[in-house]
Symmetry: C2
Subunit: 431 residues, 2 copies
């Protein structure tokens, strides 16, 4: 039990800002009613947010004869947040205002021969510079940059411990980026980015317990429990893709057999297509995206093979999601990432049917299964949210009592030396 | 996000008392160092525990020249806690002092024709009366009774929603007990009782994330995440026994196929024995306990069939535990309940081997797998712990700001009318 009153204060600060982003302007009284916090606590938290210039006073509302109530709103122009989505073949970067509207986007391609850590860091820095440039004066001060990289990430040290795509082992990516970018930096992976995006802005908002099922090439389950991200003891929770669904089943690249991922990740779905329609023109053997797109179109047109593939995928997915429901008893299960987005409603309908056959009655009755409602790239949104959380954690930084997990690079000079350490922020072992 | 500063205060009160139970006497300074809380917070919490008469001042220690430090200890004789373990064929009751030493035990048999709710409540009341009588004046004031009943339990209303053993549906067991017992009552199920016992007194103490794998006739995984019990949105989290390990595998009484429970629960282990040693004398077809006992003895004697059965059980159990490790990334996995206790070390060794083959490297490296170190019945200990937690939650009850989830029956008369509602405690819908 290492949770302290400081953690609860940070969590409450998150909660108040979340409400303000969802509905601005609002009064301290309404915030207190919505959060269950006392008016005094809300007043303190709003004071901190005002001091951080994340929110602003915007006037008064009449309160039925009583004293007029002060209204607070998110100060959209009070700063910018940048989210970086590093994928196998591209770097996608978005710059957000504080209401989390996208002000600018940039994309850089990653070629197979350009995947050395220094090269990837260079592409990231170029794309970040591009969005800052495009947003121009609207960007204002950049509060931080969140970076999502696929793999096992130590967010405290900023080291990518393992990235299967590029066979990276122990890459100090945050140090490399700190030499190039003069902003506070936060590193994590796409699964946690998507989960935090749902928690702040999507289907998990206001829910105590939610599971975000990520369906892409790889597969994972982000766990938002008790209103916060469950990271596990070494920040690797959520490896649902490598839980066993069929003991001794299909071989998996993790070395195991019968993992969930081998049946419901994009390559697994392509395998169902090969088995159910060996000569189907829907299959693009070397192109996952084209195959899933073709499947989605064919399902819409009533193609029987495509429908059978979605049903078969949902049979496995439904069993796996039932396991999550039985084990964790969540309020909501969110289907996220590109495979879920493209197969959409037809997949959702079949998954709900399969779950209804598998899950226990009591937890099933308490759960809904939905598609992610986030209309933009959830990974860059979530990455930007890590930067926002970093800014919120730093409230007491000046007094020296808080250690931030992100790295702050306050001056160009500090950045140029690669020793980007602000007073009160954490020093990486390597610096 | 419904967690409030009151919740964190309750959690901190739990934590301070846990430390005191583990090591008494101790000073406020040592408690602050051990918990990471400020000395001022610890002083406030200790003051509350003193007021509740759960702890007591026991003198001073020198602090190397400084002011002598006050020492605090658990006041073992400050009150009694009663834990009730209702099983299919018996009711086992233990009375504890506040250091959680057992002062008295009682057991009542449940006959198949004696399983109506009123009959079971009567057996519970008789056994509770017996332990209070046996403990005599040592019992002091009874702070509460925790009751564990196998099945789906609504702990807020005290209703057993479903108990498969007896086909109970919607039984208001807490109301029935409140008519017979003049103590605050707390209802939950054995999985959560065992988990809370590990969290307070066993292998999960001081751990942030732990999984308590219960191996009995049924199978479950109690989740202690972030230092507290993860209940899920409808208090049914932990149904790991009914997650799929072999899609379309062995039929399960839940209606599914290939559930973990069908391979590693006592009946599943008996099935392995039937398959691996069809004529084995170890099999007692109608007696799970005798069969598991015979297996344990035969393994110790090197019997090859018995060893093969343990290996086969561990193959499934290892795959299932790997799933928990990959998904939740816990610090510790605890093997608990009677099957784990009887098969003991030989099972543990095989399970560790199987997990090392299945689990992902990163979460595997962060996890240890251990047998439960609790020497007595963990279910009645955990049930008593629910009563202790109830007493700790009630600190502010007199001011009317706290709603307790247990039911308090302050006077004999209130009990006799079945309307056992104390000021500030929760009224059941039926009363
Ligand atoms: Zn795998
Ligand atoms: Zn089952």
């Amino acid at each position: 039990m290492k949770r302290t009153s400081r953690d609860i204060r940070t969590a409450n600060r998150y909660e108040v800002l979340r409400r303000l982003i969802a509905a601005s302007p609002t009064s301290r009284q309404e915030l207190a009613a919505a959060t269950g916090l006392s008016l005094a606590t809300v007043a303190t938290l709003v004071g901190e947010l005002l001091e951080l210039r994340l929110v602003t006073e915007v006037g008064f509302e009449d309160s039925a004869g009583g004293r007029p109530r002060g209204l607070i709103a998110v100060d959209a122009s009070g700063g910018a947040l940048i989210g970086v989505d590093i994928a196998e073949t591209y770097v996608h970067v978005e710059l957000f205002d504080l209401a989390l509207n996208v002000l600018a986007r940039a994309e850089e391609q990653l070629r197979p021969d350009g995947s050395r850590p220094e090269q990837v860091a260079g592409r990231v820095a170029a794309a970040v510079a591009a969005v800052v440039d495009r947003a121009g004066t609207r960007a204002g001060r950049v509060l931080g940059v969140g970076v999502s990289v696929p793999g096992q990430v130590d967010r405290d040290t900023g080291v990518v411990e393992y990235a299967a795509n590029w066979q990276w082992h122990g890459v100090p990516l945050l140090d490399l980026l700190a030499e190039l970018l003069p902003y506070p930096l936060h590193l994590d992976n796409p699964l946690r980015a998507c989960t935090v995006a749902e928690l702040w802005f999507g289907a998990a908002r206001g829910r105590d317990d939610a599971v975000v099922v990520n369906l892409g090439t790889g597969v994972g389950a982000g766990l938002a429990l008790g209103g916060g991200l469950h990271r596990g003891v070494s920040n690797s929770a959520g490896e649902w893709g490598h839980t066993t669904l069929v003991l001794d089943g299909r071989p998996c690249h993790c070395g195991g057999h019968g993992c969930v991922e081998t049946y419901v990740g994009a390559p697994g779905i392509m395998q169902h297509l090969r088995e159910l329609g060996p000569h189907s023109p829907l299959l693009h053997p070397d192109d996952q995206t084209a195959t899933i797109d073709a499947l989605a179109r064919a399902v819409a047109e009533g193609d029987p093979v495509a429908r059978a593939v979605v049903r078969e995928t949902a049979r496995y997915l439904g069993a796996g999601i039932s396991d999550l429901i039985n084990l964790l008893n969540p309020e909501v299960v969110v289907l996220s990432s590109w495979v879920a987005a493209r197969l959409g409603e037809p997949l959702l309908v079949e998954v709900r049917r399969a779950v209804a056959r598998h899950a226990l009655r009591r937890p099933l009755a308490a759960t809904e299964i939905v598609l992610s409602p986030i209309p933009t790239d959830p990974v860059s949104l979530g990455a930007a949210t890590f930067a926002l959380e970093g800014a919120l954690r730093s409230v007491r930084q000046r007094s020296g009592t808080t250690v931030t997990t992100g790295r702050a690079a306050p001056t160009g000079r500090a950045v140029a030396t690669g020793r980007a350490v602000a007073a009160g922020s954490r020093t990486a072992p390597s610096s």
